[in-house]
């Protein structure tokens, strides 16, 4: 759309467009990306727990084992794991994993918004410049 503008108007309108469209767009799409990732990660944990219970259980035991083995001699590794398996014969709904994921997503949200403010206009600028160069080269003008 901007590619067809005369050279004098192109630059100022492009910068304005980067601010007006790039900044809110960048923020919105970054927020959408966080949401999309939150859904995907939670879905992964849920499917793992629901459809692959053995695999999910082993991961659960490994996470418990990793926290309990800290500071203990390595000779106790196997014994500690067996003990954990005896104390936790089954895995409950992975509520903690989903909660941790949600808290993490909330934590990174401001950072993602900040990157959206910077990267959004940059993306729009690059895309419009590319379209401009393509338009000029199609008309045989110097780019």
């Amino acid at each position: 759309m901007l590619a067809r503008l005369p050279a004098l108007l192109f630059c100022p309108i492009l910068w304005l467009w980067c601010l007006v469209y790039g900044v809110p767009g960048g923020v919105f799409f970054k927020l959408a990306a966080v949401y999309e990732n939150w859904v995907a990660t939670n879905r992964y944990h849920y499917i793992l727990w629901k459809k692959y219970p053995q695999r999910s259980y082993q991961k659960y035991i490994s996470s418990l084992w990793a926290s309990e083995i800290k500071g203990l001699p390595m000779e106790l590794a196997e014994y500690t794991r067996q003990k954990i398996e005896q104390n936790h014969p089954s895995e409950h709904f992975p509520f903690l994993r989903l909660l941790t994921n949600s808290i993490f997503m909330l934590f990174i949200l401001p950072y993602m918004v900040a990157t959206g403010i910077i990267k959004g206009p940059l993306f729009v600028y690059r895309r419009e410049m590319q379209a401009r160069q393509q338009y000029l080269s199609q008309r045989g003008l110097p780019t």
């Binding site: 799409f29 970054k30 990306a33 995907a40 499917i47 459809k51 695999r55 993602m112 990267k119």
Partner: protein
């Protein structure tokens, strides 16, 4: 009539295959199921262009293509090069989420297939061998697109391969 099932957007599959006849056969098998939309690219470069055309939300969101069916041997840019280019691009994203890839190769259960599996660095969700079994293909696509199991399938495949390597040693 299930209104929601009928109106759900069909997942997009990108088929990257240099052999036109093979591409047509595979695409028609997928389209005939009525569950997917298929895009065809004949080499790696075309595939990257197709991915760029289907980017979502300033390229901040995952691609609109839900799964890539990738032939391993192709002219210009082969499967390894395309997969590397794709994953390098995806690494720039803070979430590093992968577009699921299914590798199609003519190699059967032999060293060449294992080589293909290794050179993909465990980044593919499944391997299919030619001639492609239609029901197997649709089953894999269903697991990836409708059941959202791509990541789990990739992990399982990688583990299986590591186990094989250990046994060999």
């Amino acid at each position: 009539m299930n209104w929601f099932a009928d109106n759900r957007k069909k997942p997009k599959i990108l088929l990257v295959e240099d052999n036109e006849l093979q591409a047509e056969l595979t695409a028609s098998a997928i389209v005939e199921s009525g569950l997917y939309e298929v895009l065809i690219a004949h080499n790696g470069e075309e595939a990257l262009n197709e991915l760029a055309r289907n980017q979502r939300g300033f390229d901040f969101l995952t691609n609109a293509i839900d799964c890539i069916l990738l032939d391993w041997q192709m002219p210009k840019m082969d499967g390894t090069q395309l997969l590397r280019a794709l994953r390098t691009h995806e690494l720039k994203s803070p979430f590093k989420r992968h577009t699921p890839v299914v590798i199609i190769s003519a190699f059967g259960d032999n060293d060449l297939r294992l080589k293909a599996e290794d050179s993909s660095h465990g980044l593919a969700s499944a391997y299919l061998t030619k001639p492609i079994d239609e029901s197997e293909l649709l089953h894999v696509l269903k697991r990836i697109t409708y059941d959202n199991e791509a990541e789990i399938m990739r992990e399982l495949l990688l583990e299986q391969r590591l186990k094989q390597l250990k046994e060999r040693r």
